[in-house]
């Protein structure tokens, strides 16, 4: 299937879903005007990618400097799908990068790890 690449803007993240290499990455800022409009095609591509997968190693890198409340909900939905894929027999590693003095983003990474026990979540502090 075709890889998904969306360049960053000042208010939306760079999305690099390299499905061929099973590497997914989100980085930058996320406060689009309408998060559900922005994330809908991303969710659709992710669903199409994950559904047939079996026994695949997926690596997810998230390095977001800021995300608004509506984006938070969308990001949580992405991890619910990834957790379901891990439960279904895939191996998903999540590298959650955050600034060490940004408690909110670090704690959200912890919450994702607690919510999604099938994911192998690594909380990493940015230098």
């Amino acid at each position: 299937m075709q890889n998904l690449h969306i360049p960053a803007t000042s208010y939306s993240p760079q999305v690099d879903f390299d499905f061929a290499r099973h590497h997914l990455s989100l980085r930058g800022e996320s406060y689009p005007e309408n998060a559900s409009v922005f994330f809908a095609p991303i969710m659709a591509a992710l669903d199409a990618y994950l559904t047939p997968l079996d026994h695949v190693r997926i690596t997810v890198d998230v390095q977001l400097a800021y995300f608004n409340s509506a984006s938070t909900k969308a990001i949580l939905a992405i991890f619910e799908r990834l957790n379901a894929a891990a439960v279904a027999g895939n191996y998903v590693t999540v590298n959650w990068h955050s600034d060490p003095d940004d408690d909110t983003i670090m704690e959200f990474g912890q919450e994702i790890a607690e919510d999604s026990p099938a994911l192998d979540v690594h909380l990493l502090a940015l230098a």
């Binding site: 208010y11 005007e33 938070t72 949580l76 003095d101 940004d102």
Partner: protein, 186 residues
């Protein structure tokens, strides 16, 4: 408005240590540009990194609230994207704390709904607000909300004191529109 009025306006803003003030139409492009300017302006203040992040977060939630919900719009009333709506936003500094105040017109019939969302937050501790946020984040969306329905909760979570809000009848008690004010201190 004579220049004399402008001087008084400027003087009041200076006395109140207003870091940033905007009134007029809000769109995503304006919010984003203001956000960049605010970040740069905050870099010149004594604000800690944590304060800057919280302030930026409150600013974005409030400004996007105007874009989504202000009762006075230039965009079509049923659009959900590329909206342009009227409001005002202040960022000020007071005794080492920052505050953000946002004002926008709302339909009078929305007053009850807004009050019901905000009133419970006023008496809650930071931990209670965090717990409620976690719970709401994982629940279904509010049908009338264009975002995640988490904007006010996010503002309350970032604030160091309970948020303040009010409705002011600028055009008299019979007008279908009233002005909604929301203030958070960080």
């Amino acid at each position: 408005m004579s220049l004399d009025h402008f001087y008084r306006f400027q003087d009041l803003a200076r006395q109140q240590s207003v870091v940033f003030y905007y009134t007029g139409y809000f769109s995503q492009a304006i919010v984003s540009a203001m956000g960049d300017a605010l970040r740069q302006r905050l870099n010149q203040t004594d604000a800690s990194n944590v304060q800057r992040r919280k302030l930026f977060s409150v600013f974005i939630e409030m400004a996007q609230n105007v874009v989504h919900y202000s009762a006075e719009h230039l965009s079509a009333s049923d659009s959900t994207d590329q909206e342009i709506r009227r409001g005002a936003l202040w960022v000020g500094e007071q005794n080492g704390h920052f505050y953000v105040v946002c004002a926008n017109p709302v339909a009078r019939e929305q007053v009850g709904r807004i009050r019901d969302k905000l009133m419970p937050l006023l008496g809650m501790s930071n931990d209670d607000i965090k717990q409620l946020y976690k719970q709401k984040l994982r629940s279904d969306n509010d049908a009338e909300s264009k975002g995640a329905g988490l904007g006010f909760l996010t503002v309350a979570r970032e604030a160091t004191e309970p948020v303040e809000f009010d409705f002011i009848d600028e055009d008299g008690p019979l007008s279908p529109i009233t002005m909604f004010y929301l203030k958070a201190s960080i």
